[in-house]
Structures are given as structure tokens and as C-alpha cells.
């Protein structure tokens, strides 16, 4: 388990590597170097299935165990054990989530992990692989359906003329031939005055985006904001037009795709309240009002249209999805079983398709640097009984739920003269919030933790930095420099 916090999962791990926030590449490159130094790489796989190995080997030479120990704060011996254990395992997976991706170099973090799988051949085989754990029930499905700036449904690239042409013929419209903006790019475009109208479906960016002051100012500056959601979120409160929508999981029919690419059916169990309509109905009514009649398609009819256009979904009829309890894409036809793991092509000799490239990525510290004024590293995350900005999860009673707390180590509490339960002010370079302190034995000195589940209580994203990974458009939610002040007295810590 590699995590700056000793989480409850870490307590179950055989080893816990409590690395410094944002030092993931220093760790991964050191693991790679150690695997090579010990001769534990999979030579056959590297030779036949990968490219760029020699350059990579030279690149990681400077990432010694000693360097990693210094940068990551993890003992060199523990990193060595990790490298040997991973390389020698019969099957090994690397699972990660937002601690890897919510950094200004999140894509590079992922590439550094991919390097390890390529070095050892722990990819494309049963029980091995690279596994980004999805945090939301349909964030994978959103991508599957083309809710990405450069992709059409089925991950078909919009800048590929042949693929785009297929959709243009099916839909009878011209599709812009260049990719659009991702989420943070859209906010930058608002700042430049290029984006003036925004239609938000099922998201609460006023609370979920980093640097909340800036986000809300930009949303307020739009000519028109339209929000379609099941509940009156903070973003919906700011909107000129709100479309009340049925809850996708129990008032509506359709599909979602989970973390293992399994497409599953969601079914309507309840009628939505009066005046609340299904997402499809809202979109079609809006199209009609704008002069285009899309009819009144059912969820299954739309799904079948998708199957006709997206080869990876072609074999997934509603009947099969129900009988098989979901199918994992790609599923090319109605006799195809779906695929439990990907990239098996890398084990064909010769490899089918392009070789898998090693990537030479460098360790880059978080954008929001620690200094004398802001000496504490704040990282953000979730707690078990709550979820994101709390739109759904704050509306049920959870016996274990506490009000939001600033979690710190007891050592820091002692050093700063604060006690548990005491309200303190947390200041970053962008904003300040107040929260009561809780001591968490899973945190060490210099590390603090907040969630963004209770934005009305503690607006955590007023603190976070909008430094963005240019490759993914994701903000560095995981690394904010803060200072903790006693509310009653002078600045401490």
C-alpha cells in the first residue's frame, strides 16, 4: 500500500509506504531502477512487446534508492522490497485512484506506473494488469459514451476523419473536426471570454472544482448557465435555468459502466416526482424547442444506436446484459463473451498492433510549494459514509458521521498548541476556512487532511490549487500548501 496517509486499507497491507505527497514518480522510477539493477525485468516481454527500453533504462539510472528515500520519505529497504516483490510475483496488479491522477503531472504519474508493468510483463494476462479504480458509478460510462473533449462514443477519436464520418452519416450532421475543451480548459475559456454559455448535467462544479472562489466567479460571469440535476445543488442555485431530472439509478432506465469496464443495466423502480423528467426526455424536448425533432426514443433504442456505431459495445444487447449480469467491453458481437482483461495482444508473437512504449518521466514536486508562510501539506479525499460534494450522501443519517474536521497528527497538534475539537483557521494562498481539529494516528507531522463532503460547512476547495495537468486537465487537488492558525491567538505552525 502506497499512500501518504495510513488509511484503514493500509492497516491490512503487508507493507505500507507512506510517501510524501506528490513524490510518486521518484518512487516508481526507483522501483524500476531496482528491478533492472537486480536483473528481475522480463527480457522476453521487453524485447518483443515494448519500445524505448534502452532510453528508459538510462533515464532511471539517477533514481537510486537513496534518492527515493530522500524524496519520498520511505526507507530505501522498503522500496527495494516493493521492487523485488512486484517483479517476482507470478501475478501482480497496480491499482490506483485519484492520489495518482489529481496532480499537475497526473498523466506522468500514470505513465511511470505503466513503465513498471512493461518492465515486468505484468499486463495483458489473467490476474495481472494496471487498474485505475473509478470513483463514481458511471465515470467510466461517461467516457465510453464520448463525454470527453476528443472522443466520440466508444473512444473513437473525433480528429480521425473516417471515424467522425461514420457518425456524421448516421446522424446527418457535421461534427466539429477538432477536439473541444476539457473541464479546466472550459474554465480558462470562460476567463478569456470565449465560453459564455454552459449546460451542466449531473455535476456540481461550484463545489467540486479547485480554487472555488475563481470557479464561482467564472460561473457567475456566464451569459447563461443551465443545470440539469436531481437535487438543487450549489451550481443549480447559480443557474438561470434548472431542469429537474429523474434519478438515473432508480427513476430511469439505462446502463452504467463500472471500474472493470462492466456495462450493467440500471432500472426504474420508482416514478419521479411530479414535474421531474427523465434525462432523455429533457434533452429531446430541448432539441424540439430548438427546432430539431429527435422523437421520443427509449433508453434501449438509444443504446442500440450506440451499438451500431461503437464496435466495442456492438455485442451488448439489453437481453445479454441482463442475463450475463453485465458484460465487459470490448464486446464486438452477440457471441463475444466480453473481455476480463485488456492488452492480451502484447503477448502475441509478433505483437498485434503497435508496441507499448516506455515513457521517460521526471519527478516534479507539487505546484503549491511549501515555504515558511505555508509549511503544512494539505491533501484531500473522501470518508467512507460520504461522497463527493455530499449532494446525495449528506441526505441520509449516518451514525458514524462527524462534522467535517481538519485531521492532523497529534504531534503537530502539540507543537501548535491546539487540542482536539478546537476550531482553527486553515489558510492557503487562495483562501481560508475554519474547521475543528481531529487527531488522526494515520497522519504524520506536517500532513493535514480535509474532505470536500460538506462544502457549506467547510469549503475545502477554496483552499485547493488550480494548477492543472496540461495533458489531462485535472487539478492538483491532492497537494495544497497551508498554514494552520489558532483562531484565538497568534499564528502557529
Amino acid at each position: 500500500m502506497v499512500d501518504p496517509r495510513r488509511t484503514s486499507s493500509a492497516q491490512w497491507a503487508e507493507r505500507w509506504l507512506g510517501l510524501n505527497v506528490g513524490s510518486d514518480i521518484a518512487l516508481a522510477n526507483a522501483v524500476a531502477r531496482e528491478i533492472l539493477a537486480a536483473g528481475l525485468q522480463n527480457r522476453e516481454f521487453i524485447e518483443n512487446a515494448t519500445s524505448g527500453f534502452e532510453e528508459f533504462r538510462a533515464h532511471v539510472q539517477k533514481y537510486t534508492l537513496e534518492h527515493a528515500e530522500k524524496t519520498c520519505g520511505v526507507p530505501a529497504e522498503t522500496i527495494r522490497e516493493l521492487a523485488h516483490g512486484y517483479a517476482r510475483a507470478g501475478r501482480a496488479q497496480i491499482c490506483w485512484t485519484l492520489g495518482i491522477t489529481e496532480h499537475r503531472n497526473g498523466v506522468d504519474n500514470v505513465l511511470a506506473l505503466i513503465n513498471l508493468a512493461l518492465l515486468t510483463g505484468h499486463v495483458g494476462r489473467y490476474g495481472s494488469g494496471l487498474n485505475p479504480l473509478r470513483g463514481q458509478n458511471n465515470v467510466q460510462g461517461g467516457g465510453d459514451m464520448g463525454a470527453l473533449p476528443d472522443r466520440l462514443p466508444g473512444f473513437q477519436h473525433v480528429e480521425n476523419d473516417e471515424l467522425r464520418g461514420k457518425f456524421e452519416r448516421a446522424w446527418g450532421v457535421k461534427i466539429p473536426a477538432q477536439r473541444g475543451w476539457h473541464l479546466s480548459g472550459m474554465f480558462d475559456a470562460m476567463e478569456r471570454g470565449q465560453l459564455k454559455a454552459l449546460y451542466v448535467i449531473g455535476e456540481n462544479p461550484a463545489h467540486s472544482e479547485s480554487d472555488q472562489h475563481r470557479t464561482q466567479k467564472l460561473l457567475e460571469g456566464l451569459d447563461i448557465l443551465v443545470v440539469q440535476d436531481t437535487l438543487m445543488t450549489r451550481t443549480a442555485e447559480m443557474a438561470e435555468v434548472v431542469f429537474p431530472a429523474a434519478a438515473g439509478w432508480c427513476e430511469s432506465d439505462g446502463t452504467v459502466t463500472n471500474s472493470e469496464r462492466r456495462v450493467q443495466r440500471v432500472r426504474k423502480a420508482l416514478a419521479p416526482p411530479a414535474g421531474v423528467r427523465d434525462d432523455i426526455e429533457i434533452l429531446c424536448a430541448l432539441a424540439r424547442a430548438m427546432g430539431k425533432d429527435l422523437g421520443q426514443p427509449s433508453a434501449e433504442e438509444l443504446w442500440n444506436e450506440l451499438r451500431a456505431l461503437s464496435p466495442m459495445h456492438a455485442g451488448m444487447s439489453y437481453a445479454r446484459l441482463a442475463n450475463a449480469q453485465g458484460l465487459q467491453w470490448p464486446c464486438y458481437d452477440e457471441t463475444h463473451p466480453g473481455e476480463q482483461y485488456l492488452h492480451g495482444r502484447l503477448w502475441e508473437r509478433p505483437v498485434i498492433g503497435p508496441l507499448a512504449p516506455f515513457s521517460c518521466v521526471e519527478d516534479v514536486p507539487p505546484a503549491d510549494a511549501l515555504d515558511e508562510e505555508y509549511p503544512v501539506r494539505l491533501t484531500t479525499g473522501r470518508r467512507l459514509d460520504s461522497y463527493n460534494t455530499g449532494v446525495q450522501s449528506s441526505r441520509y443519517a449516518s451514525p458514524g458521521r462527524r462534522e467535517e474536521t481538519l485531521d492532523i497528527s497529534a504531534e503537530d497538534g502539540k507543537a501548535w498548541g491546539v487540542v482536539e475539537g478546537e476550531r482553527v483557521r486553515v489558510l492557503s494562498r487562495r483562501g481560508a476556512v475554519e474547521a475543528p481539529v481531529r487527531f488522526d494516528a494515520g497522519l504524520r507531522a506536517g500532513l493535514a487532511f480535509l474532505t470536500f463532503h460538506f462544502p457549506e460547512q467547510v469549503a475545502t476547495n477554496e483552499l485547493t490549487v488550480d494548477a492543472v495537468d496540461p495533458k489531462s486537465g485535472t487539478s492538483e487537488f491532492k497537494a495544497t500548501a497551508v498554514r494552520i492558525e489558532k483562531i484565538s491567538g497568534a499564528a502557529k505552525g
Partner: protein, 304 residues
């Protein structure tokens, strides 16, 4: 070696081979006699599995496919030729040449006695499975004393949190909740069996209320409880008010709205309200297990 550029993401990757799975270990098969019939089963098969695959309905209370057998309820006992005592079918493995009787008079008597002992001391009013077994075996719990005379486990229901109640007057000590809270599912270890003999009971550490215990409110204990001793607070309240009516309820399978695991939720609705959420054991992803959000995090739907 020349450095090759990254694959062009604008072009789809070609189709690869289908995933390959490790070969299933071929178990040796053995022959046993079940109620006079020759049956061939794989080595390692339990007598319960053998009986069920032969279409013989063997009753169980403490057994569940997803839990390790603990052999405590003794309702599944069968007679093995040459064995002095009856054996629990849920955990006894079939052996070559074994002759098993699943419904002999001795078996029926033993099952009837177990049911009578349980029903004379425990409130089985919300345990339809036990009631069905009692009819099947002609159990007469009143043999052990009319109501009010036999010793019982009657006690006040524990309502110490917003999500579920513990009514140990209905507990048959099958251990399923303990197993689901422990290594068989949740690894939380909030509850265990305390006390001995008739005083044995399910308890949190030092018998503290749930909110002070290690409980994380996954409700996986409710999911496995065969008697309704563990019950959603919503269901408990509706039953008390006389509003609980399963004939007016609909069950719909859908997917949890929270994280990316994709657990199946069976949503139980009555009069256009969600009254509880369960998850099917056959579901391949978490085999009936949920977390607090999936099992209880739907209250906002009813508030609208």
C-alpha cells in the same frame, strides 16, 4: 535500439486475442449413494452440495454459500451409514462409497427437535424459512412448555442508531452476522459471540452500543440474517406501525449510484417509496455485500 514514437491515439488499436483463463483443476470424481441412488460428484464436494445437485432439498439455517460453514444449527444433519452420530451436510465432504440418507426417520426427528428447541425459546415470527421448515417437519415447540413457561431469549429490542435495529429475542445464534462482519466479508470484527450455554449471545466489544463499536454500518449482517433479528430501521418501524406489506412491494435490480464498483442493488419499494435495499448473493462483483452508502444512502429519494 531506436526510440519509437507513442502509438497514434487517433487510430483504434487492433483487436487482440480473447482473454485466456487458467485451466480449472480437474477434480477426481467419486461415487456415493444418496437415498439409495448412485451419484457421481467431484472430490471435495460437501454432502449438501451433492444433495442439492441431485435435486434433494436439504434445509439449512446457519449455512450460506458465501460464508464458511460453522456447523452450529444442526438442521442440515444427514445419516451416514456406519457413522454413530448424524453429520452436518453443509461441511461434511463426500467420500467414495459413502451411503447417505437425507430424509430418514432419525434425520426427520433430529430436525424436528432442533426446530422445536429453537421456536420454543426464540421469536421466529419474522423468519418465514423457519416457519416453512416447522410445517415440513411437523415441529411442535409447545411440547417444551406453553408460552410463558419455557425459558426464552426474550429481551428488549436494541435501537441505538438510525440505520438498523438488533432484536436478539429473534436470534438463533447462527453466527452468520459474525462471519459476515469478520473474515468472510467485511473484516470489521465489530461483533462476536459472548457468553456460554443459554447465556450465549451476539455482542459488540464490552456490549457497547453500535455507534461506540467498530461497526461501519455496511449492513452485510442484515443481508445474511435468517430470522429478521437484524432489520432495517425503516422496516422495523413500518412493521411496528402495521404498514409493512410485502404483497404491495416490488423488487427492482439496479446499480448503486455511488462509487465505481458497480454493486447490484435490489430496491424494495412500497407505495412509491424505497423501504429497503438488498443485494443478490449471485451478483458476481460483491456477492451480496454492500457498503453503508449502497445499503442505506438512498434516503434522499424518499425526501423529495
Amino acid at each position: 535500439m531506436s526510440v519509437q514514437k507513442a502509438p497514434d491515439l487517433k487510430n483504434p488499436l487492433p483487436r487482440g486475442p480473447l482473454p485466456v483463463f487458467p485451466p480449472e483443476r480437474m477434480a477426481k470424481t467419486i461415487e456415493i449413494t444418496l437415498d439409495g441412488r448412485k451419484v457421481t460428484v467431484a472430490e471435495g464436494t460437501t454432502l449438501l452440495e451433492a444433495a442439492r445437485s441431485a435435486g434433494i432439498d436439504t434445509p439449512t439455517l446457519c449455512f450460506l454459500e458465501t460464508l464458511t460453514p460453522v456447523n452450529v444449527c444442526r438442521i442440515c444433519v444427514v445419516e451416514v451409514e456406519g457413522s454413530r452420530a448424524l453429520v452436518p451436510a453443509c461441511s461434511r465432504k463426500a467420500e467414495a462409497g459413502m451411503a447417505v440418507r437425507t430424509d430418514s426417520e432419525r434425520v426427520r426427528l433430529s430436525r424436528r427437535l432442533v426446530l422445536e428447541l429453537l421456536a420454543s425459546s426464540v421469536d421466529v415470527s419474522t423468519a418465514p424459512q423457519i416457519q416453512e421448515y416447522m410445517r415440513r417437519y411437523g415441529a411442535k415447540p409447545e411440547r417444551f412448555g406453553a408460552a410463558g413457561h419455557a425459558e426464552t431469549v426474550a429481551q428488549p429490542v436494541k435501537i441505538d442508531n438510525e440505520l438498523y435495529v438488533r432484536d436478539y429475542a429473534k436470534c438463533i445464534l447462527c453466527y452468520k452476522c459474525v462471519e459476515a462482519c469478520g473474515v468472510d466479508a467485511q473484516n470489521t470484527f465489530a461483533i462476536a459471540v459472548a457468553g456460554r450455554g443459554f447465556g450465549a449471545r451476539i455482542s459488540t466489544e464490552y456490549n457497547v452500543p453500535l455507534p461506540d463499536s467498530a461497526c461501519v454500518y455496511c449492513g452485510n449482517c442484515i443481508g445474511v440474517c435468517p430470522t429478521g433479528a437484524l432489520m432495517f430501521r425503516s422496516e422495523h418501524g413500518m412493521r411496528k406501525a402495521g404498514d409493512w406489506d410485502e404483497t404491495r412491494q416490488t423488487r427492482t435490480d439496479t446499480i448503486c449510484p455511488y462509487c465505481g464498483v458497480g454493486c447490484t442493488l435490489t430496491v424494495h419499494t412500497q407505495d412509491e417509496k424505497i423501504v429497503k435495499v438488498t443485494s443478490p448473493l449471485e451478483q458476481p462483483i460483491t456477492r451480496g455485500n454492500l457498503c453503508i452508502k449502497g445499503r442505506f444512502g438512498w434516503e434522499w429519494i424518499n425526501q423529495k
